[in-house]
């Protein structure tokens, strides 16, 4: 802003143009004024915590605050990597994520292809509308529904088990079922919503390709194989790459709400572990701020490097990337 006005000042002296310059400065001033509150928000609520990440390399002394506490190097990272929880938490995080990716990834694609090939517009709209719906259910409500569904006393699954003459189990308390419960409830909730991007890619396919194939005598199924799927392949590849970039990034809410003492061996992931060691969790453990910050940072660094490398691969392979 300053630079430009200076340049203009040097070049011109006439009062009319000077007026113009003043006006431009004032205009930009207005834009700056507009963006100031959002910028202040971002700096306070995003950048100050980033500065606080140094806690990961310090021992927290409450009286000295984050910035005055003594440096201890990589002590907390060292402790985490060598801790009893490390293999468990890593295994669960990657396991639940990978399971979700492998099981969940194909569904939106299949649904989008099927939606795109149905001839009845009303039917298509109905299916679309209905499958988008679960996306808007809150995590807490969703977990509540899962709990009711799995309730060993009068949940639906218990009734089904009784119908087949089996003793209903407390499914949510059995570690080996945890990942499936988490993954499949997510699939139920997000498959419909996930089709949006594929449907858009499908609608962008040149209709003349379809017409040409019809003239050549290709049936609808053949056209899916030879036109639709190749048409959305770049989108599929990007989505796959981006999802695998987030493989270590498992959200907190869903897992945490599904957790209980019994399924903990299978359900403790990095984000829930950070919460428990950092803020004490529910049971009144002694909070360890620096250690939790270190675990969090460890995870963030892995996330960023994964995302950046996957983005780089995507750029090389498909010529498209996040930015």
């Amino acid at each position: 802003m300053k630079k430009r006005s200076l340049a203009h000042n040097n070049a011109t002296t006439s009062p009319v143009k000077k007026n113009k310059i003043l006006k431009e400065i004032r205009n930009n001033y207005q834009l700056f004024l507009l963006i100031l509150p959002p910028l202040a928000y971002i700096i306070i609520f995003k950048y100050i915590p980033m500065y606080g990440v140094q806690l990961a390399f310090k021992d927290f002394v409450a009286t000295k605050g984050i910035f005055g506490s003594p440096w201890v190097g990589l002590k907390h990272f060292d402790r985490f990597v060598n801790s009893y929880f490390f293999p468990r938490v890593m295994k669960n995080t990657i396991g639940v994520s990978l399971y979700g990716l492998i099981a969940g990834f194909p569904f939106p694609i299949l649904l989008a292809l099927a939606l795109n090939s149905t001839r009845n517009k009303l039917y298509r709209k109905t299916v679309q509308m209905s499958t988008y719906l679960p996306h808007f259910i809150s995590t807490v409500t969703m977990v509540g529904m899962v709990m009711q569904f799995l309730n060993p006393r009068f949940g639906m699954l218990a009734e089904v088990a009784k119908f087949f003459g089996k003793e209903p189990l407390n499914y949510i308390g059995i570690p080996k079922y945890f990942k499936s419960i988490y993954v499949w409830s997510n699939i139920w909730q997000d498959t419909g919503w996930g089709t949006i991007i594929y449907l858009a890619a499908l609608s962008a396919i040149d209709p003349s390709l379809q017409e040409a194939a019809i003239v050549d005598g290709a049936g609808r199924f053949k056209r899916i194989i030879h036109i639709d799927i190749p048409g959305i392949l770049p989108t599929i590849v990007i989505m796959l790459i981006l999802r695998s970039g987030r493989i270590m990034n498992v959200g907190f809410e869903n897992i945490f709400l599904l957790q209980n003492q019994l399924n903990l061996p299978a359900s403790e992931v990095i984000s829930t572990y950070v919460y428990k060691v950092g803020l004490g969790g529910d049971k009144g453990m002694i909070p360890n701020f620096p250690f939790a910050t270190a675990v969090d940072l460890f995870n963030s660094v892995i996330n960023i490097s994964l995302l950046l490398s996957m983005n780089w691969i995507s750029k090389r392979l498909t010529d498209s990337s996040l930015w």
Binding site: R26, K46, T141, G144, I196, D296
Partner: protein
């Protein structure tokens, strides 16, 4: 001619299978929702006995009565409505304030500020430093914590900015400037009226986010009178911490137990109801928002 019929016959098979496939998706999606809706209208006895499969059994509104009589739930409901309205208003105003300057090619600081914003999508301070900041700011157990820490979502700023870039022509700005229009006037008289659809998308994205948000309240609110609906839901649905015994003295303990079970179903319906009702009307807008976000996310 004959060939054509043969092809379409093969296709008919395909369409049948395809529509059947879609039907499976439809049923799998809708059935659980219908089941919960029907259960919420059934008698406690029918639920305990596992008699509800598709339609309500022994139709009753007892569950809803229990929900609306519970002051804990109603307080949560009121709080959430308040947080959603206040939060969404702040969100939308700040998002427009950020998105418009960032969409202006002649705004020199545009790229720098964009970088500052976008970097936060990649890296954050994490749980503990954020927690310490919020605590130091005195926002713990303060209703403002439901509004201020999530005041802007960078992704939404980018979506809005992209919309402005492709829908507010440069010529319009030039013409307005020649007529002596200031930036503030231009936003008020041109940008906002011309971008109603993206504003609607923002209102919806943020409002649904507030309605469903759990994490901030969970971390920073321990006072029950400030609880949003989602925390109340967690107590009742997941932690089973409902005490229904005080609701009606005339019932026995067992009756109360059963009512509690029914109440859960009704509560699930009541909590999801506002968003679900709104949804068919705004579905198009949502999809539009997702698309803009996906193209230039």
């Amino acid at each position: 001619m004959t060939k054509k019929i043969k092809i379409s016959r093969k296709d008919i098979m395909f369409y049948l299978i395809n529509d059947g496939f879609l039907f499976i998706f439809l049923i799998v999606t809708l059935y659980p929702m219908i089941y919960f809706l029907s259960s919420s209208f059934s008698s406690p006895r029918a639920i305990i006995m596992g008699k509800v499969w598709l339609w309500p059994v022994e139709f009753t509104l007892k569950g809803y009565k229990a929900v609306f009589q519970d002051s804990y739930i109603m307080t949560g409901y009121r709080n959430t409505i308040f947080y959603t309205i206040a939060g969404t208003m702040l969100n939308v105003v700040l998002t427009i304030m950020a998105a418009y300057p960032l969409s202006r090619k002649d705004f020199k600081l545009r790229n720098t500020i964009m970088m500052i914003f976008a970097f936060t999508m990649l890296f954050g301070g994490g749980l503990v430093p954020t927690y310490l900041l919020i605590t130091n700011l005195g926002l713990k157990n303060n209703w403002l914590v439901m509004v201020i820490p999530g005041a802007i979502t960078v992704r939404n700023v980018i979506i809005t900015r992209t919309f402005y870039q492709s829908n507010i022509a440069d010529e319009m700005l030039e013409a307005a400037k020649i007529d002596g229009c200031s930036d503030f006037q231009f936003i008020r008289m041109v940008v906002i009226p011309l971008s109603k659809s993206i504003t609607a998308v923002m209102v919806l994205f943020y409002a649904v986010g507030h309605w469903n948000s759990f994490f901030n309240a969970f971390l920073y609110i321990t006072k029950r009178s400030l609880y949003p609906l989602q925390l109340v839901l967690r107590d009742i649905l997941i932690k089973n911490a409902l005490d229904a015994s005080g609701m009606d003295d005339s019932r026995t303990y067992a009756d109360n137990q059963n009512i509690e079970e029914l109440l859960k179903y009704s509560l699930i319906v009541v909590s999801a109801f506002p968003v679900m009702c709104l949804y068919p009307f705004v579905q198009k807008h949502f999809v539009k928002g997702v698309m803009i976000g996906a193209i230039k996310g």
